[in-house]
């Protein structure tokens, strides 16, 4: 049994460059691992032929000295990035047979970099959820404890990286869907600034909040991955034109003199003693590295969850109106008229959380309620953004927990949507403000991983990766992995 899949992304790149192993051997090791860990249910579709073809091409190019640095390195995509010729389900029965006619821009960039796609990763249906239990293809299991959730919605991405099934996975984050599962699986997740990564070909949930990003095993590995997918795309009208810096070059900057803000609301009485101990250890590491801690007030932060659970469902109800049983997706049998076709196709195709959000969003946008809900939420959104901009005049970045606690047992919150929504309490505000945020391992509580979160000004992804990388030079947590892997 090959253990090449246990190497980090950087070790894999170095091994390929030195000829220690071939891309074909590397991809085979990952495909074997995927096969051994089918019980995790991390993948919806595995594409061994495509992966081995890409690896063989990489090996030929490398033999001729023409390979790009990442040629042949494995990657897996969250199953809401469209992939030409390969099933894209979004975790929904609605799209159980949908084969996209084109690649998402993120997928195109990964192909251009020479990456070998291993397959498509499980997720909460249309990225709506915080536990990966809302997938029509069954829940993903947490590699640290198979009876617990991996978080969501990018639960497949996080579980696959934690279990060493891929060194790098794409993911998306609308209210915490990269950072929360990264925290609960002991992996590293980065949600870039809104607009930093193209949304073209990424199936829309809430368009003013959605952002593609990555899950990997270290900040340095994320820096390599982000360089592939970041940058302007004329096909996405909200794509940012700001130049993409060298994320790798920024990793080694010293932290001396850096001002790190600690939002008081993130460290108040609601934080458990165990989480406080983990965060205190992170703060100590940062202090030893020369950073200074400052307490920061974010006066409107407690209203982030209410505002988010109006704005996101409102945008979802609009985006998901495209699923009508006519152009693509599930179509009800024997419709008696057009309205029956729409109503039954959608009723049969969508799962319960998606229906809940469509109803909530439709209500919030309906006549007579728009001012009280949607407009009010957008006003609060501005207040929250202003809180952050004010904070960043006093500090360089913000630090807090990623989640309230550890991964919860499968089924524990499925009957209580509000309890599930509160999983996102520390993550949604950055989406509302469009800021970049990252989650990185902070050790374990009762044997299960938790994360610390860094939030930075718009387009300061380098700063997040730099700080996390420096912490990872002096702490062991990101090397932690489930026994037997």
């Amino acid at each position: 049994m090959s253990t090449l899949n246990s190497l980090s992304l950087i070790e894999q790149i170095n091994g390929l460059a030195a000829g220690t192993f071939s891309a074909t051997e590397l991809v085979k090791a990952h495909l074997d691992a995927i096969d051994r860990h089918r019980a995790l249910n991390a993948f919806i579709t595995v594409t061994p032929e495509l992966a081995l073809d890409a690896a063989a091409r990489a090996d030929q190019l490398r033999a001729r000295g023409e390979a790009t640095e990442l040629a042949g390195i494995p990657i897996a995509h969250k199953d809401l990035f469209c992939t030409e010729g390969v099933l894209t389900t979004c975790g929904s029965r609605m799209l159980s047979r949908f084969v996209a006619p084109y690649d998402a821009e993120v997928v195109t960039r990964c192909k251009a970099a020479g990456l070998s796609m291993l397959g498509k990763l499980n997720l909460d249906e249309f990225a709506m959820g915080s536990s990966n239990e809302n997938s029509a293809y069954g829940p993903v299991r947490n590699p640290w404890d198979l009876d617990r959730v991996p978080g969501g919605s990018s639960g497949g991405s996080a579980a696959a990286v934690a279990a060493r099934l891929t060194p790098l996975a794409t993911a998306t984050d609308t209210g915490g869907s990269i950072r929360q599962p990264a925290a609960l699986t002991g992996t590293c997740g980065l949600k870039p600034t809104y607009g930093r990564v193209s949304r073209w070909g990424m199936v829309a949930y809430a368009s003013s909040l959605d952002q593609g990003g990555l899950i990997a095993r270290s900040a340095a590995d994320l820096a390599i991955g982000l360089a592939i997918i970041a940058g302007h795309d004329p096909k996405d009208s909200t794509s940012a034109r700001d130049p993409v810096p060298s994320y790798r070059d920024a990793l080694d900057s010293p932290l001396k003199g850096l001002r790190i803000g600690l939002p008081t609301a993130f460290f108040d009485h609601r934080m458990s003693d165990a989480m406080r101990t983990r965060l205190t250890t992170v703060i100590q590491a940062l202090t030893d590295l020369g950073a200074a801690m400052i307490e920061i007030e974010l006066p409107h932060i407690d209203h982030a969850i209410p505002a988010y659970y109006v704005i996101a469902p409102a945008e979802a109800s609009s985006n998901l109106s495209r699923f009508d049983g006519v152009r693509f997706g599930h179509r009800a049998a024997d419709p008696k008229d057009l309205n029956d076709l729409y109503t039954r196709s959608r009723g049969e195709g969508f799962g319960s959380e998606v229906k809940r959000r469509i109803l909530m969003g439709t209500y919030a946008l309906s006549e007579g309620y728009y001012e009280a809900y949607y407009k009010k939420a957008q006003q609060i959104r501005r207040l929250i953004k202003m809180d952050f901009l004010q904070a960043f005049t006093q500090c360089d970045l913000l630090l807090g927990p990623t989640t309230p606690g550890v991964a919860f047992p499968i089924g524990a919150k499925t009957q209580d949507p509000v309890a599930m929504y509160l999983e996102d309490i520390y993550t949604v505000a950055t989406n509302l403000a469009g800021l970049p945020g990252g989650s990185f391992p902070a050790g374990r509580i009762d044997g299960l991983p938790v994360g610390f979160q860094l939030m930075a000004p718009h387009f300061a992804e380098s700063r997040i990766l730099n700080v996390a990388h420096q912490v990872q030079q002096v702490t062991p947590w990101h090397h932690d992995h489930p026994e037997g892997l």
């Binding site: 006619p101 809104y194 076709l341 209500y363 809900y373 006003q379 609060i380 209580d416 929504y421």
Partner: protein, 95 residues
Amino acid sequence: MSLSRDDVTRVARLARLGLSDAEADRALTDLNAILDLVDAMATVDTTGVAPLGNPLEATQVLRADQVTDIDARDALMANAPAKADGLFLVPRVVE
């Protein structure tokens, strides 16, 4: 604000979303719990605050008026559940 069962039916009709009776019952409970959560927004003074739609306040971008789309009708229609002669089929709407 609290929803009635009739409100749920009305909203489901607006969303063209088929719900079974059991689903509508469950939706009533869940939506009222969610509304309890979001109604906390009413306590925030937002007088004079402009709504924020795009987090970067980007405005719509324009491009040169040139044809860029490729002709890919067959590929784009490949997923259509019912089609004929390059057209999407729906139940008859005009007698």
